[in-house]
């Protein structure tokens, strides 16, 4: 589903600091991969590059998604193809009502895939279903996107969007940050409900905690811009005990 080979990327500014230095990663349909690593390892950069955020320059390597060259696609094309990034810091968008946003996004993706637009009743039903599961109140949906939402509400809103947009690859960027234990459980349950044979996850996290709730198939340690170790779920536990110190040495 996702195949990253020898990915090198630097920040697109004057300093041009290289962040990813030859990253390889392959994700098959239905798999849940966790990327762990110390701060500054390039975890969020990886998520951003997959989603198509400006501000990075890929200097070498390739990213293929369903055999398409992802790096050639605009962010909205990637979304329509099935990529979803759950933001670490969901953006507040004053003035755009959440419902308007959801409908515009869902129908833009459907249009890009050559599918029929949702009717208003179909849309309302879908939103209500997804919102109820995550404990998102109607009042929140009427507000502008994320404006006045607590940290937990913002993350739940991300997961609701994920549920509605039915992506093939979900990238969760530090979804656990800023969540208390109850919010973490709700969000994790939301994610787990979306797991399926055709849907893959890339869970980016600093702490092992999230992985108690979302059990990964594979765990990778990202340090110094590359994957330095891969293993099963037990690797996360080991990291929790030993920390990232052993990976912090100069490569």
């Amino acid at each position: 589903m996702l195949a990253i080979e020898n990915l090198h990327a630097k920040v697109d500014d004057e300093e041009g600091r290289e962040i990813l230095k030859g990253l390889d990663l392959e994700i098959w349909p239905g798999e849940v991969h966790a990327i762990m690593g110390p701060n500054g390892a390039g975890k969020s950069t990886l998520g951003h590059i997959i989603a198509g955020k400006d501000g990075y320059e890929v200097t070498d390597g390739s990213v293929k998604f369903m055999d398409e060259d992802l790096l050639e696609m605009e962010p909205e094309e990637r979304a329509a193809a099935g990529i979803f990034l759950a933001f670490q810091y969901p953006v507040e968008v004053p003035g755009v009502a959440t419902m308007t946003f959801l409908k515009t996004a869902m129908n833009a993706q459907r249009e890009a895939r050559g599918e029929k637009a949702l009717s208003t009743p179909e849309f309302m039903k879908a939103v209500k279903g997804a919102a109820d599961k995550l404990g998102i109140k109607q009042d929140m949906l009427r507000r502008p996107i994320n404006v006045g939402f607590s940290g937990g509400e913002k993350k739940r809103n991300e997961i609701m969007q994920m549920a509605l947009l039915e992506p093939k690859l979900c990238v969760l960027d530090e979804t656990d940050s800023g969540l208390d234990i109850d919010a973490l459980r709700i969000v994790s349950e939301g994610v787990n409900a979306l797991r399926g044979a055709d849907r893959s996850f890339l869970v980016i996290t600093h702490y092992q905690r999230l992985l108690d709730y979302i059990t990964p198939d594979h765990v990778h340690v990202l340090a110094g811009g590359k994957i330095v170790r891969s293993g099963g779920p037990e690797l996360a536990k080991e990291l929790e005990a030993s920390g990232y110190a052993e990976f912090m040495e100069p490569a």
């Binding site: 198509g52 909205e76 953006v91 003035g95 515009t104 833009a108």
Partner: protein, 426 residues
Amino acid sequence: MKLTPTDAETALAALYDAKKADFAGAPLAAAREDAFTRFAEAGLPHRRIEAYKYTDLRARLTDLPPAAAEAGEENVAGILAGYPPLVEGAARIVIANGRYVPGLSAAPANVTVTSILDPAADLSAVGILVAGNDDPLTLANLGLFEGGVVITVAGEAGAPIEIVHVATADALVMGRVAMSVSADGRASVIERTLGSAAVVENGLTELTLKEGAHVDWIRLVDGKSDKAVELNSFHTEVPESAVLNHLTLTTGLGLARSQIFGHVVGHDAEANFRAATVAVGKRHADNTLVIRHDAVGSRSTEIFKSAIGEGGTAIIQGRIFVEKDAQKTDSKMMSNALFLDDTGEVVNKPELEIFADDVICGHGATSGDIDEDPVFYLRARGIPEATARRLLTEAFIIEALDLVADEALNDALAERIRTALAAVVA
């Protein structure tokens, strides 16, 4: 130093002289004379007058059209028919070419409307708020107004009120509105101008609230051509526990200057001013606001949202005075301007003058391009870039509609903003 009168100033003086005989004996004649004399002494305001530095009317108003004659009622009815009220069920009060048209007007329950020139009109709340004001546009109207209305709201107005100014010719029009609202009374008002595309309007409104009254007032400024001139001065006083929510929505073309003179005079009084402006092309949109807090524990907010493109200009002048005894005043002013391209101009001039020492007052001003983080957020959800930018640009202005609680009205106003932006934003 007195400047040589311009053609426009000469024309205004001649107009006053010509009408002087008609005014004599009519209501408010003495006030006219006083106001016009003061106006004529200073003349049209120009760029060396600080408040008019960015809107030099002496230079801009070179050839004034003739004063409007009385409008034919059928003609006015024809114009009105093309534009239904913005809110369904609103009662229209029609002022055509500056004169009240009772035959086309309706007053909802608890509202009475009288011509300001009717000898029987109750003038007890007329001229009070403007007394002593030396703003030239206010003085010009006070001296030359053709007519207008006195609106009295006793209790809760039975329906929204739409004050419609109609111009049947490309003429100079100076109508006047005086409205008073009883203690705990409520009214929702929309004010707009219809008709001729090159009208030169200099309107004046006095809104007097009594304790606990609540008024929502929305004024649409949407000049129909490059030649349109829309000048307006809104004077108000907000006493104890009263609330005023005022919105000026400026789109369209031509020269506009919307002035607000607000006096917050009672404990727990609240005055909120919003200005949503789309200044595109040959549009000069000036919002000038002077608020004076004169009581312990009153509040005001001032939010200006402007989008500028294709050579348009937005001027935002906001001035808040907090008098010495107005402790615990809470006043916040913010002006945000968004450039739609590289050709627009915006002037932000916020001023705070605080003489009390226990207040919360703040102001801020920003101008810039659209924020890229929300653009990416929307694109990451599959929304094409052009749509994302359009939605966010609209949202930027639509934020100024935050106090318009009526959903249908909010939608209608948002739609006007979208239409105005559609010319520039793909």
